[in-house]
């Protein structure tokens, strides 16, 4: 299957902004791939004057939040690095039913979220304090914030455009499947995390429950 790839514009973020920025982007991506019956949920960002949409599925929210926490902890260990998060949508196709009962994932779309995390000084969990602690003047801070807001908005537009232009590769809507199965990985994490992820993927290769049909 044809796998479409979208490289999103790189965003320069401070560590305390990671959470909101990633939530916004990841949820927007998944929302466009949640083709089952959904009740969209508007979320206003706290740091930016932007409203994004969630598909309203708790599992999705949980998965995204976990990924973000994971990413943040990785960023803590690897400061001032450009990092990339990949959201991959796949279909599970059972090929050659063997003793391993292996079902192969067929990736049909990948989104690369590129972040350049700046000023890695404190734990992002204390992000409210960070605002005060960094040496930036308030003007610099607000102009930087404005820039980031614009860039984030551009990224969201980029997502919309991509979704609009590329529709043919999206698998047909299956009844009962709320969102297309996806995984989130961090290719930049060449350490054990990534390896673990691959290992986990192998272990749970049974596929997403929604794909059993």
């Amino acid at each position: 299957m044809n796998c479409e790839v979208c490289q999103l514009k790189e965003l320069e973020v401070e560590s305390f902004e990671i959470r909101e920025v990633l939530r916004c982007i990841l949820h927007t991506i998944v929302f466009h791939r949640a083709l089952g019956l959904i009740r969209p949920k508007d979320i206003d960002l706290e740091l930016f004057d932007i409203t994004y949409v969630q598909c309203g599925e708790i599992e999705v929210e949980k998965k995204i939040d976990e990924t973000i926490e994971h990413f943040i902890s990785w960023i803590d260990k690897h400061p001032n690095k450009k990092s990339q998060i990949c959201v991959s949508f796949y279909e599970v196709k059972s090929k050659q039913p063997s003793w391993f009962n292996n079902k192969q994932r067929s990736y049909w779309e990948q989104w690369y979220v590129n972040l350049n995390v700046l000023h890695q000084t404190k734990s992002p969990s204390h992000h409210s304090k960070l605002v005060m602690d960094t040496g930036e003047t308030s003007e610099e801070r607000s102009s930087r914030r404005t820039m980031l807001e614009q860039s984030l908005q551009e990224v969201l537009f980029q997502i919309i455009k991509f979704v609009n232009e590329k529709k043919d590769h999206v698998p047909p809507i299956n009844d009962g499947v709320i969102y297309c199965p996806f995984e989130i990985t961090m290719p930049s994490s060449s350490d054990s995390t990534f390896g673990m992820d691959i290992f986990k993927r192998m272990l749970h290769s049974g596929g997403h429950p929604s794909m059993l049909s």
Binding site: L35, K41, D42, Y52, V170
Partner: protein, 592 residues
């Protein structure tokens, strides 16, 4: 067979197209229609507000329409019903204009002085900030028909999937465009905006000029191919800078003041705050001012009535009208300030104002209406009406109805009457006989809430009409009916009344003279400050100062006098301190 199946597919396609139009419209309107103006924002409307909590969970059941494109949207009936999409042909392009309507109140002397009630200080400045175009392009009908194959059913599915994807994009898109920020601002409870957002589905689309079009940005969604054509959607929108610079200016505090006081805006807070409002800082400042000026008048006792003759009143109300637009921070404060010179010694001024605030909630209509009908138009009256009405109109509905406005106006008049009455009464003892009769008529004719008015009448009656001929007629008109109906105070000639009063005054014990100045306003205040349940007590206290004079011993009266004197002193002393909170206590004491 094949033909019928293709027909049914065509019908299905048509239905998908129709539903696509409807859903698109719903998505756009839902994110562009402020459900209520922020002025009238209440809990009920919050169900439709764009907050995260209610957008998804307002209703858990799945409505048939939600299933279309697997997108459950918030109920937006008002918006949808106003556009009768059902009668549209799907071949007609659907245009949705999102219009920003700016309300720009006149700020200036000229407007206020002229009698332009219905102008409502409003000019309209409209600007289309978004134009959505949803259309079904069937130019490819033949081509599509030619290429129709047995897989048309799967084509339908593909079409449906792509339409679903497009609507997902639309849903996100409407929230990214600048107009959504305005929508959010309008829907946020704390903000009152000078503008409103009006989505329109024009039957005749007025094309943009080239210049307009050049100013706007365009986003075209990728078309969705259908069985026999394609669905197209695009939006022309203004950039945020165009929109926000012109229209999102901070709102004049005038609106905020009235908004806060508006029972519509905050009906629940209104009631608990009612008693407290009497002790609010501006009012207290006002009361202090009165006690001061009252004192001054007392010092120069003989001519105070001169200062409250109709002409200063008129000029003052004019001054008020002129000043109002320029002082945005508080209509009530302005009124108090501006009314205070002619009626400086009277407490009831503040009462009238605060009553006005509560008019839609509490004022007992019948008694006031009866008075209302009797209001004789006079120049002064008109000016007062202007003075009291203008700010209310400006505020766009702080007082809920015309009746409320009339009450407000009546109160304004009474303030003047009362104030002049009080001033005149400082001359000597007429207060005694007057208060006696007043309390009697009050009790017979009015319920507790109304008593200040008849009480007032008595002041007017007792005051020398000849000194204020202009205003006397007016007052007499207003207050005769209650007196007549009371039966206890039959209508008599003014001279006779004055004569009777003079007689009574002559017979009255001297100790009351001192009291009258301070006690009477105190009584007013007591009554005003009482919530409904406490009026009995207030009435009783009035009786004590009026009817019960005969029954009471001189010692009782002396005691009462002393308490009032004490209160007066406390007031006077505290008024120098400028602390508003302190002054509340004497009133509270006097009320108990």
């Amino acid at each position: 067979m094949n033909r019928s199946s293709s027909n049914s597919e065509g019908a299905k396609a048509e239905q998908i197209i129709f539903e696509f139009f409807a859903k698109s419209l719903h998505i756009i309107l839902e994110s562009r229609t402020p459900f209520m103006s922020s002025r009238n924002f209440s809990g009920d409307q919050m169900i439709c507000s764009p907050s995260p909590s209610c957008s998804s969970s307002s209703s858990s059941s799945v409505r048939p329409r939600d299933k279309w494109f697997n997108l459950a949207l918030r109920e937006c009936p008002a918006a949808l019903e106003s556009f009768d999409i059902g009668r549209r042909s799907s071949l007609e392009p659907l245009v949705v204009d999102v219009v920003l309507v700016a309300r720009q109140p006149f700020v200036g002397d000229q407007m206020s002085l002229s009698d332009q009630d219905e102008l409502a200080c409003e000019t309209k400045n409209e600007q289309v900030i978004e134009r959505w175009l949803v259309q079904y392009d069937n130019r490819k009908v033949r081509e599509a028909a030619a290429s129709r194959s047995s897989s048309s059913n799967s084509k339908l599915q593909v079409m449906y999937k792509k339409a679903t994807l497009l609507l997902r994009s639309l849903f996100v898109m409407v929230r990214l465009l600048p107009a959504y920020k305005i929508f959010r601002a309008l829907n946020s409870s704390g903000q009152i905006c000078k503008f409103k957002l009006v989505p329109k589905v024009p039957t005749i689309v007025e094309p943009f000029t080239r210049r307009e079009e050049a100013e706007m940005q365009k986003f075209a969604f990728a078309p969705v191919d259908t069985v026999c054509g394609r669905l197209c959607m695009s939006v022309l929108y203004r950039s945020l800078s165009d929109v926000s610079c012109e229209h999102s200016a901070p709102v004049s505090p005038t609106f905020i003041t009235d908004y806060v006081g508006s029972p519509l805006a905050d009906p629940l807070k209104r009631f608990p705050s009612l008693p407290l409002s009497y002790g609010s800082p501006p009012l207290l400042a006002f009361q202090r001012r009165h006690s001061w000026s009252f004192d001054r008048f007392k010092a120069s006792s003989p001519p105070p009535s001169v200062s409250c003759s109709p002409s200063p009143t008129r000029s003052d109300s004019q001054a008020l009208v002129r000043r109002l637009p320029d002082i945005p921070t508080g209509r009530r404060k302005d009124e108090e300030r501006d009314f205070s010179p002619p009626c400086s010694p009277s407490g009831p001024v503040s009462r009238g104002i605060t009553r006005t605030e509560s008019a839609p909630v509490r004022i007992p209509a019948p008694s006031f209406e009866s008075k209302q009908n009797l209001v004789a138009p006079s120049p002064r009256l008109k000016l007062l009406r202007q003075a009291s009405l203008k700010p209310v109109r400006n505020s766009g509905g702080a007082v809920e109805s015309g009746a409320g406005l009339e009450k407000l106006f009546l109160y304004g008049r009474e303030e003047f009457r009362r104030s002049s009455g009080v001033r005149l009464s400082t001359n000597s003892s007429p207060r005694i006989s007057f208060s006696r009769s007043s309390s009697r008529s009050y009790q017979e004719d009015f319920d507790d809430n109304d008593f200040p008015c008849p009480f007032d009448v008595e002041y007017d009656e007792i005051s020398d009409p000849s000194s204020r001929p202009g205003s006397f007629d007016q007052r007499g008109d207003i207050h005769e009916p209650p007196l007549e109906s009371s039966g206890s105070y039959p209508k008599k000639s003014q001279d006779a009344a004055v004569g009777a009063l003079v007689n009574m005054l002559k017979k009255a014990p001297p100790l009351r003279q001192d009291v009258s100045e301070s006690s009477i306003p105190e009584i007013y205040w007591n009554n005003n400050k009482k919530p409904a349940g406490a009026h009995d007590v207030a009435a009783a206290s009035m009786t004590a100062s009026g009817i019960a004079l005969a029954a009471k011993t001189t010692a009782d009266a002396l005691e009462e006098l002393r308490s009032y004197k004490e209160m007066k002193n406390v007031l006077l002393s505290q008024s120098t301190m400028g602390s508003s909170s302190v002054t509340t206590s004497p009133f509270a004491v006097s009320g108990s």
